[in-house]
């Protein structure tokens, strides 16, 4: 994922796109990197050449990097730590007699 730069990029620079590739039918699209392109169609063509030269994908998504809203690393504790003490959300929290078998 790409962080926005502090200073505005020069006008000559093509906008940045995040690229997601589905490696085969049945799997999700996965982030694989970013690239510069003038528009969405162009980004798709570039993504094909940059990220799927060896049949790494069957489908590509391109998303303008500026459209992505990311959680802040500073909020990591606040966001994710509360889940830490909820051990009852995991199956291993419960003791079941052996004779029940696999559950």
């Amino acid at each position: 994922m790409t962080q926005k730069t502090e200073s505005a990029p020069p006008l000559s620079e093509w906008p940045l796109w995040e690229i997601f590739v589905r490696s085969r039918q049945g799997l999700e699209h996965k982030h694989c990197g970013s690239l510069h392109a003038s528009d969405a169609e162009h980004a798709l063509q570039m993504a094909r050449d940059v990220y799927t030269r060896r049949q790494e994908g069957v489908s590509i998504w391109v998303i303008p990097s500026r459209s992505i809203t990311a959680s802040s690393p500073d909020d990591k504790g606040e966001l994710f730590d509360p889940a830490n003490d909820k051990v009852y959300r995991h199956p291993t929290f419960y003791t079941i007699p052996d004779e029940v078998g696999h559950m």
Partner: protein, 336 residues
């Protein structure tokens, strides 16, 4: 392809990288060190010390520049490849190098530096790229030797970078390394064909190319550990995993048996197997020549940079036209 681990002069690198901790907030610095000590990964939005960011920007952008400039010596041979098969292979390889440059520029951009500023640094000569590309590719055998030895050295150097502490760089390197194996094998195989089925003249051509590239490839791993002050900090930060001298030794040990299969020798009278160490001993590297090339006085420095700048200028209308077309499309959509 590849970038030398430290391409700044020893004096310049001695100034960088040391005593950085005192200027950073101690609490954040400690948290950062804890992640590094636990062999964790740093991601773009995480806090990182300025010197870590600066070192990465320099290393990743130099690496990206090396991939892009690295297209030039081989690109010279696309139109002169000896068969359609070799031409297709070389085209695919050079296209890969462009791709590697793009992965790496993207990784560097996550550190907050723009693509244009990196390219500007390259085009104005402020940024370095691997010195290996400042030597000429005189014959077709050079293309094979570049694949075998230069890409071989690159693989040796890049594989540990797949475990680099900076996430985007490590991920880019994983992608690069997957593709690099084809580069080395195609080079070696093209030499094998000349050595096993070729004429005496073709075999001599291969040996001549090996003679010219061997020492340059050993120098690619960078200065000896004793004269590489940046290395220690790089090791501490998990940016560098294996020292220059260790990588160089691994390369020699791996390559000599390959040379024997090929039926070529390397131009080193001091080369011999050291039973006690379990490694090959080899002769001294001409570091004066290496630094002269790093500092701009190699045989092709000016030509490579001029070709690169010309390509950038010639492509300006394409970049402008693409932007204008995208703008027009947007306006049409808004009007509809």
């Amino acid at each position: 392809m590849y970038t030398s681990p430290t391409m700044t002069t020893p004096a310049a690198s001695a100034q960088a990288g040391t005593n950085i901790a005192p200027i950073e907030p101690p609490e954040k610095m400690q948290a950062f060190d804890r992640v590094i000590d636990a062999d964790g990964r740093i991601e773009p939005q995480d806090w990182m010390p300025q010197a870590y960011r600066k070192t990465l920007v320099r290393q990743i952008s130099q690496h990206a520049h090396s991939e892009i400039v690295g297209m030039l010596p081989e690109g010279n041979w696309i139109s002169r490849a000896p068969s359609l098969k070799r031409k297709a292979i070389l085209l695919a390889k050079v296209q890969d190098e462009a791709g590697h440059g793009l992965y790496l520029y993207s990784a560097a951009e996550t550190l907050g530096v723009s693509r244009d500023s990196m390219l500007d640094a390259l085009h104005t000569g402020r940024a370095k790229y691997s010195s290996i590309f400042n030597y000429p590719t005189l014959t077709w055998a050079d293309v094979g030797v570049i694949g075998w030895l230069v890409d071989g050295a690159a693989i040796m150097n890049q594989t540990p970078l797949c475990r680099c502490s900076y996430g985007p760089y490590a991920r880019a390197m994983i992608r690069v390394c997957k593709e690099e194996s084809f580069h080395q094998r195609q080079g070696y195989e093209s030499l094998l064909v000349m050595m096993k089925e070729g004429t005496q003249a073709q075999q001599d051509m291969v040996q001549d190319a090996v003679n010219r590239w061997w020492w340059k490839c050993l120098a690619m791993f960078g200065p000896p550990d004793s004269e590489s002050p940046n290395s220690e900090q790089g090791m501490r930060w998990g940016i560098k995993r294996i020292s220059n001298d260790d990588l160089r030794q691994r390369f020699v040990d791996a390559t000599i048996p390959q040379a024997a299969v090929l039926g070529v020798s390397v131009p080193d009278e001091d080369l011999k197997w050291n039973e006690e160490r379990g490694h090959y001993d080899f002769g001294p590297i001409d570091w004066d020549e290496f630094w002269a090339t790093v500092n701009g006085n190699g045989p092709c420095n000016k030509e490579r940079l001029a070709t690169r700048v010309q390509a950038w200028r010639d492509g300006q209308w394409v970049r402008d036209a693409a932007m204008a077309s995208a703008q027009k499309k947007r306006e049409r959509e808004q009007a509809a």
